[in-house]
Amino acid sequence: MVTIDFTLNGKRVTVDVNDNETLLFTLREKLSIKSVKEGCSIGECGTCTVLIDDETHYSCLTLSSKVTGRDVKTVEYLGNIIELHPLQEAFISCGAVQCGYCTPGMLLSAYSLLLKNKDPQDEEIKRAISGNLCRCTGYIQIIEAIRYAAGILKQNC
C-alpha cells in the first residue's frame, strides 16, 4: 500500500493504493470516476482511456503508482451537464453516441488530438481514435463530430 498524490481534473487528490492496483480501478472504485470504463483490460478497446499530462493512456495497463505527481484528466474535465464541451455537443448533434460505452474514451482521444492539431484532416482524426473501439456507430458519425467540433473551437478563439 502506498499513498499517491496527483492532479485529477484540475484538483489535487491523495489516495491510498495497492502496489498491484491499476489506475482504472483507483479511479472507479476509490475516486468515483465512473466515466472510465473497463472493456477488455488488455489495452485493445480504449474505453478506459484517460489523459496523463494531456496524452492518451490506457488506464487498465497503468499502475496507479505511475501517476504520482502527474496531471490526470477524465471526461469530467471537459464539461458537465450544465455546460458541455463543444466536442460533447458535437457528439450529440452528429449522432456519434449510441450505447455510450466508448464515448468517454473517444472524447478524450479527440480532445487530445485537438490540443495538438486545431485543424485535423480525416486521416489524422482516424489515426487519433484508432485505439478506441466503437461497437455501435461505425465511426463515421464520430469522425464527423470531431471535424465539426474542431470548426466550432476554431471560431471561438
Binding site: D19, T22, G43, H57, Y58, L61, L63, T68, G131
Partner: protein, 280 residues
C-alpha cells in the same frame, strides 16, 4: 485483477540496479503495454521495479560515435522526433505504426526489444542500423549487438541482474540512402505485423552500392539476409538481378523456418514487397 506483487519506483539508474540485484523474483516495468497484459493472463513476480522515472534512461542524445536512445523513450516520442526522422527514417516509421496512440504514448523501445517478439516493429529498423545495446548491472556494463542480443523468439541474452539502458546507432552513415519500413497487418491499428521489412539502400550510377534489408515476422527472429546483401554489393540495378536476389532471400527464409502454412500467403506478398523496395 493483477496478481499480487510489490512495486518500487526507481528514481535513478543506481536505485534501479540496486532493486534488481537486491530483490527476489523481480521484473522491470517500463510502459507496461506488454508486461501488464501478460500479468493479467497470469504471469507473476514478487517484485516490479518501475524504471519510467529514471531521467537518464529517456530521450535521444548525440555522442562521439553517433547517437543513443534511452531504453524508456516512448514510441510516440521516437516517431515524432525530427532527429530520428532524419537519421533513422525506418525506425521513425516503425514507431509510428505500433499499436495505437495510447500504446505509443506508453510503450517504450527498450520494452519492445526485451520482449523480443518475432513481429516486434522496432527490431528490423534497428538491425538495418546495426544497433548496439548497453546492458548495465551492479558489476559494470557491457555492450552487445542487437543481432546477438535476441537469441530465440521472446528470448534475449539479458541476465537477471541486468538492465537495458541505451540503444546506440552509429553516426550518419546513411546520408544518401533511401530508407523505409513497411509492414503487412490484418488491420491498420492494434495489429501485429504479419510481415515487415526495413531497408536502407545506397545506389550509385546504376549500381547497388550498399543494400541493407531486415525482415520481420517470417523467421523466428527478425533477420538480415546478409548473403544477398553481399551479392547485391556492386551489382547492376537490373530487373534480372533484383528477381534473382529476392528469390535467394525467399529460399533462405524457407531454409531457416521450414515450410509454414502461412507461407502460401506470405511468400508471394514478401516477394512483391522486396522487389518493389529494390526497384525503389
Amino acid at each position: 485483477m493483477l496478481p499480487e506483487f510489490l512495486s518500487r519506483t526507481a528514481k535513478t539508474k543506481e536505485e534501479a540496479l540496486s532493486y534488481i540485484t537486491g530483490l527476489e523474483d523481480v521484473k522491470v516495468l517500463a510502459g507496461g503495454t506488454d508486461l501488464i497484459v501478460r500479468m493479467r493472463k497470469g504471469e507473476a513476480y514478487k517484485h516490479l521495479v518501475d524504471v519510467m522515472e529514471v531521467p537518464e534512461m529517456k530521450g535521444i542524445s548525440c555522442d562521439e560515435e553517433g547517437f543513443k536512445i534511452g531504453a524508456t523513450t516512448t514510441h510516440n516520442r521516437l516517431s515524432n522526433s525530427q532527429f530520428i526522422k532524419m537519421n533513422a527514417r525506418s525506425l521513425s516509421l516503425a514507431c509510428g505504426l505500433i499499436g495505437s496512440p495510447q500504446i505509443r504514448n506508453m510503450g517504450t523501445i527498450g520494452g519492445n526489444l526485451i520482449n523480443a517478439s518475432p513481429a516486434a516493429d522496432t527490431i528490423p529498423p534497428l538491425l538495418v542500423h546495426d544497433a548496439v545495446l548497453t546492458l548495465e548491472s551492479k558489476g559494470g556494463e557491457r555492450k552487445e549487438e542487437l543481432e546477438d542480443f535476441i537469441i530465440a523468439p521472446y528470448k534475449t541474452s539479458m541476465k537477471s541482474d541486468e538492465l537495458l539502458t541505451f540503444i546506440h546507432i552509429k553516426r550518419k552513415r546513411f546520408k544518401d540512402y533511401r530508407e523505409g519500413y513497411k509492414r503487412v497487418t490484418k488491420r491498420a491499428a492494434l495489429a501485429i505485423s504479419r510481415l515487415s521489412v526495413a531497408w536502407a539502400i545506397h545506389e550509385y550510377e546504376g549500381l547497388f552500392h550498399d543494400v541493407r534489408l531486415a525482415i520481420g515476422s517470417c523467421t523466428p527472429m527478425p533477420f538480415r539476409p546478409r548473403i544477398v546483401e553481399e551479392f547485391l554489393k556492386g551489382n547492376k540495378k537490373e530487373e534480372q538481378i533484383i528477381i534473382e536476389s529476392v528469390k535467394m532471400i525467399l529460399e533462405e527464409i524457407k531454409r531457416i523456418t521450414g515450410d509454414r502454412p502461412s507461407f502460401i500467403y506470405k511468400i508471394p506478398v514478401l516477394k512483391d514487397l522486396l522487389e518493389n523496395i529494390l526497384r525503389g
